[in-house]
């Protein structure tokens, strides 16, 4: 098969309109939500499992590498496709196939948008719990690849806790099923291994998710603090009382400014930091715990504590949190997100390090993160067009990730390793650890045709070199 025949063959499968091979069109498939950029060889948008399987088979026979893409909202370069690779994009596979109210599950295609699923099942009195900040745009297929989190994962766990079965296409086009309705599967939990494999094991084509009943009561607090230290103390105090809120989020002064530049989320402009805390459960339970939460906030130096009066006010408070990354565009055109996790008790220490690194490197860093589970998101804000700035940001990021590892934490809470964090893997894993991971991958994808060059360090942090004027990034450049 020649490369021309290859394109003709996949066109026969999906139709002419859904194979994109003109460079001017490919310009819009070369990015995700972060800083990397690379023009794929071609993009194909299949409509169903059969098309995915046939396209994958053809690509396999042609010896091509394949990268999956949901909505392109990722923050680790997971969907960035090398020039010699084929990108399979899933926006057309966006049907909610079934909602089972008895078993409390939904069967969906991978292109379904996270929030669309949640809104749909709310009509049945249920919810889909994982709620990444990009939930208005991100797809469930992408959520599985990255094992996406979100504010409410503090109480309910990340994507892996809510996906119970999958239909998956392997690198050679074979369709297999992992997991299923039964609570406990016999044998190895291959479903568990697959979630978070960042598109290197296979491509998901159907997803069976677990749904939760809607809570009786939801109460949202905004704790306003003069500085980030006292806000950190408050986090420990709340958790120390034995309370597990549904969500416990920190937003620092710079992030408040970014958000308030565009939308009035109801955060005071002069606060040093705010905490967004949500309690859910039975009325009596929430009433009881509310008192404890408020006391903990006041005791640790809150300047004010507000409670959302109604759904509209709650919505407004959350919109601020969930649009913060996008709002960084009001401060600088690029951001690089560090997704490190530290034990909750080390939050204050870690944030001091962030502030010290920010000063020493002369780089602006905003903090908006899942304080409850110690998942930091120091976000470096810069203009990648300034020479040397990217290298500077990467060096600062390296120090932060080293610190996370030193404090007993890890590299990524929810956004994946992808391209951007791969060179940092040795901070937390030995060569033997990583070789073991590769052997697991070989069981799924022996030819390593799926999203190669991601997750594991190879000293390349591959530079998209196809266009001299393109943004080039590289840690070891």
């Amino acid at each position: 098969m020649t490369s021309y025949e290859f394109l003709e063959n996949i066109r026969t499968v999906v139709g002419d309109d859904y194979v994109i091979a003109h460079q001017e069109d490919l310009l819009v498939y070369e990015y995700d939500g972060s800083v990397d950029r690379s023009m794929p060889g071609a993009v194909v948008l299949p409509a169903d499992t059969d098309q995915v399987s046939r396209v994958m088979r053809i690509a396999y026979e042609a010896g091509l590498t394949v990268v999956g893409r949901g909505s392109g909202t990722g923050l680790s370069g997971g969907a960035i496709t090398p020039p010699e690779g084929l990108q399979i994009a899933f926006p057309r596979m966006n049907r909610i196939l079934d909602v089972d109210t008895v078993n409390r599950t939904a069967l969906v295609e991978p292109g379904v948008i996270n929030l669309d699923l949640d809104n749909h099942v709310r009509g049945f009195g249920m919810r889909y719990a994982p709620d990444p900040s990009s939930q208005r745009a991100c797809s469930l297929g992408g959520n599985i690849a990255e094992n996406a989190g979100g504010p409410h994962c503090l109480a309910y766990g990340a994507t892996t806790n809510h996906v119970i079965g999958m239909e998956v296409v392997l690198e050679d086009g074979e369709v297999v099923h992992l997991g299923g309705l039964a609570r406990e599967a016999a044998g190895y939990d291959l479903r568990g291994a697959f979630v978070g494999s960042e598109g290197t094991f296979g491509i998901t084509t159907k997803i069976l998710v677990r749904l939760l009943p809607l809570p009786e009561t939801v109460r949202t607090f905004l704790g306003i603090f003069p500085d980030i230290d006292s806000a950190c103390t408050a986090v420990s105090a709340v958790i120390g009382h034995g309370i597990v809120p549904a969500a416990l989020e920190m937003i620092d002064a710079l992030s408040i400014k970014a958000v308030q530049n565009v939308t009035d989320a109801g955060y005071p402009n002069d606060a040093g930091a705010v905490l967004l805390i949500e309690l859910e459960g039975l009325n009596e339970e929430v009433d009881e715990v509310s008192g404890e939460v408020e006391a903990a906030l006041w005791d640790t130096g809150a300047a004010d504590v507000r409670v959302a009066e109604d759904d509209a006010e709650r919505e407004r408070l959350w919109v601020g949190r969930k649009t913060a990354f996008g709002a960084f565009g009001t401060i600088a055109p690029n951001y690089y997100l560090v997704d490190g996790v530290v034990p909750r008790t080390r939050l204050t220490q870690m944030l001091r390090k962030v502030s010290e690194v920010s000063e020493r490197y002369g780089i602006t860093i905003a903090n908006v993160f899942h304080a409850g589970d110690g998942n930091l998101h120091p976000c470096m804000l810069f203009d990648a067009r300034e020479p040397g700035v990217m290298e500077n940001a990467m060096a600062a990021a390296a120090e932060l990730m080293e610190e996370c590892a030193l404090l007993g934490g890890t590299l990524s809470g929810e956004h994946g390793i992808g391209l951007e964090k791969k060179e940092f893997m040795p901070l937390v894993y030995t060569d033997a650890d990583m070789a073991a991971m590769q052997r697991v991958r070989e069981a799924f994808a022996p030819e390593n045709r799926l999203n190669p060059g991601k997750i594991f360090p190879d000293g390349s942090y591959w530079r998209p070199a196809a266009h001299p004027a393109a943004l080039t990034v590289g840690i070891y450049a």
């Binding site: 098969m1 020649t2 490369s3 021309y4 025949e5 290859f6 394109l7 994109i20 091979a21 003109h22 460079q23 001017e24 490919l26 310009l27 819009v28 990015y31 995700d32 939500g33 060889g41 071609a42 948008l45 026979e61 042609a62 010896g63 091509l64 590498t65 909505s71 392109g72 909202t73 020039p83 010699e84 084929l86 994009a89 926006p91 057309r92 292109g111 929030l115 669309d116 990009s134 208005r136 745009a137 991100c138 958000v259 530049n261 565009v262 939308t263 649009t323 913060a324 990354f325 996008g326 709002a327 960084f328 565009g329 009001t330 055109p333 690029n334 196809a466 266009h467 004027a469 393109a470």
Partner: protein
């Protein structure tokens, strides 16, 4: 600039006539066309770098975009369109027909702008991009023709518009249209002209011809408002204009219709004709200044949106910058104006089931969604029901429906289906383009429902008091 080999010429050079299967394609897949050496952005009306780089491609706009929702293609999304603008700005590629086709499929509904966490001024970026496209003569032939025929020749001139309106009304009401449509005459016209005939807006029975008049307030006089009569609305929807005058009078306003005003220029601006748009803006600023009104009110959401942006449009005009800002500050959509008053609550019962269709330039560009609903809820007996996707564009979008017929009709059907699902007998709107588009959609669907401007419904409630 990198120009990759095109699909057919690269075979010998790069592909060696094709590489055997099984080893991938080390020279990459064959592109079907490359980045081009066409013209870039230039001049003072180029999209501003600060606007472009405010977009951090987070993707939160995708689900709000009607053309993305319909096509599922990133090329037809706000984020994709901005990426193409950035590519031109960075000199990676020039403006080409292909890029223009993606930009022209944009409805300029600005739904993306309303949900953008970073506040990217997408509407302004698209207007400036289209200005660059027009300057380089790279508009699609359909848009170019329409632009010459209508946007420049007719819109700015009240007399010509009126004449055209009279001719069209004669054509439509004399039976001539029926005759022509039955004959084979239309098949002799070029394709897009024949289609334009089919899409021709239906002229109202009675034009609104009150330019130069002042209608006195009823009861205690609150203030003098200047009403925009604009361009086509008095011809197509004279009833809505007359209803607007009556409800303003009823609520204590002297209503002046300044004689020297004209079209607000919105359609010219959207098409990228910034210079003509500025001239039209200056004319209206002068007209309303001479009339000495307290506020400028419009019953057309699209016009209100543009008029509120006059300050931005003329910001570096030494003579008009201040007046333009003041004009923009004093402009109100009529639903916004009424909702902010202590509205004289109608006592007439209207036992109607009504659903609100949010015009894009009201909901997204002006961020007004509550005001029209507040007005409707004040009417006794009226049952206001929400439709799904009430603020997703109906596909009218100025002249879009003439140029992008396929997409326009897809969105029209989607809107009519969503409205029909509510069981409403009246679709309320607040923009002449939407009203025309919805009327046509209802006719095509054989529906008994009708479309009314919010002020027509309020007016009907006042009339029902008798």
């Amino acid at each position: 600039m990198v120009s990759a080999p095109d699909r057919h010429s690269d075979a010998g050079e790069h592909m060696g006539g094709g590489i055997d299967a099984g080893h991938g394609f080390p020279y990459g897949l064959p592109f079907e066309g490359s980045l081009n050496d066409g013209p870039g952005f230039a001049g003072s009306d180029a999209p501003a770098e600060a606007d472009l780089y405010r977009c951090v491609h987070c993707g939160l706009c995708l689900s709000a975009c009607p053309t993305y929702v319909e096509t599922r293609l990133e090329t037809e999304s706000p984020r994709g369109r901005i990426a193409l603008m950035k590519a031109v700005h960075e000199g990676r590629t020039g403006i080409s027909d292909r890029l223009v086709s993606h930009w022209e499929l944009c409805l300029q509904c600005r739904a993306c702008e309303a949900v953008c966490p970073s506040g990217v001024p997408y509407g302004r970026l698209m207007e400036h991009t289209r200005a660059q496209v027009q300057d380089n003569g790279l508009q699609s032939p359909e848009l170019g023709r329409l632009s010459r025929l209508f946007l420049r020749t007719a819109l700015p001139h009240n007399g010509r518009l009126r004449l055209a309106g009279h001719l069209m009304r004669f054509y439509q009401r004399s039976g001539l249209q029926q005759l022509v449509r039955k004959s084979r005459l239309l098949s002799l016209l070029p394709g897009d002209l024949a289609a334009m005939e089919a899409q021709m807006p239906v002229m109202g029975r009675q034009f609104f011809g009150a330019r130069g008049q002042v209608f006195p307030a009823q009861g205690e006089r609150r203030m003098t408002v200047g009403l925009l009569s604009g361009c086509v609305m008095p011809l197509m929807q004279g009833d809505a204009m007359r209803a607007a005058v009556r409800v303003l009078q009823r609520n204590g306003c002297d209503v002046a219709v300044p004689p020297t005003q004209g079209c607000c220029g919105a359609l010219n601006l959207h098409a990228g004709d910034l210079e003509l748009g500025r001239r039209m803006a200056r004319r209206n600023i002068d007209a309303f200044k001479q009339a000495g009104v307290d506020v400028v009110v419009t019953a057309s959401a699209g016009c209100g949106s543009s008029m509120k942006e006059y300050g931005d449009l003329l910001h570096d005009d030494p003579h008009y910058a201040d007046a333009a800002h003041e004009f923009a500050r004093n402009t109100r959509d009529i639903t916004e104006f009424l909702a902010a008053l202590p509205l004289d609550t109608p006592r007439g019962q209207l036992p109607w089931r009504v659903t609100m269709q949010d015009p894009c330039h009201l909901a997204h560009a002006q961020r007004i969604t509550e005001a029209p609903r507040q007005v409707l809820r004040s009417i006794p007996g009226l049952d206001l029901v929400e439709m799904a996707e009430s603020s997703l564009c109906c596909g009218s979008a100025g002249f879009y429906s003439l140029i992008q017929r396929d997409m326009s009709q897809r969105l029209q059907r989607r809107k009519i289906d969503n409205a029909a699902a509510t069981g409403a007998e009246v679709i309320a709107s607040a923009n002449p383009g939407c009203i025309g588009q919805l009327e046509q959609g209802l006719r095509d669907a054989g529906s008994d429902a009708r479309v009314m401007h919010v002020v027509e419904i309020l007016d009907a409630a006042y009339q029902a008091e008798r």
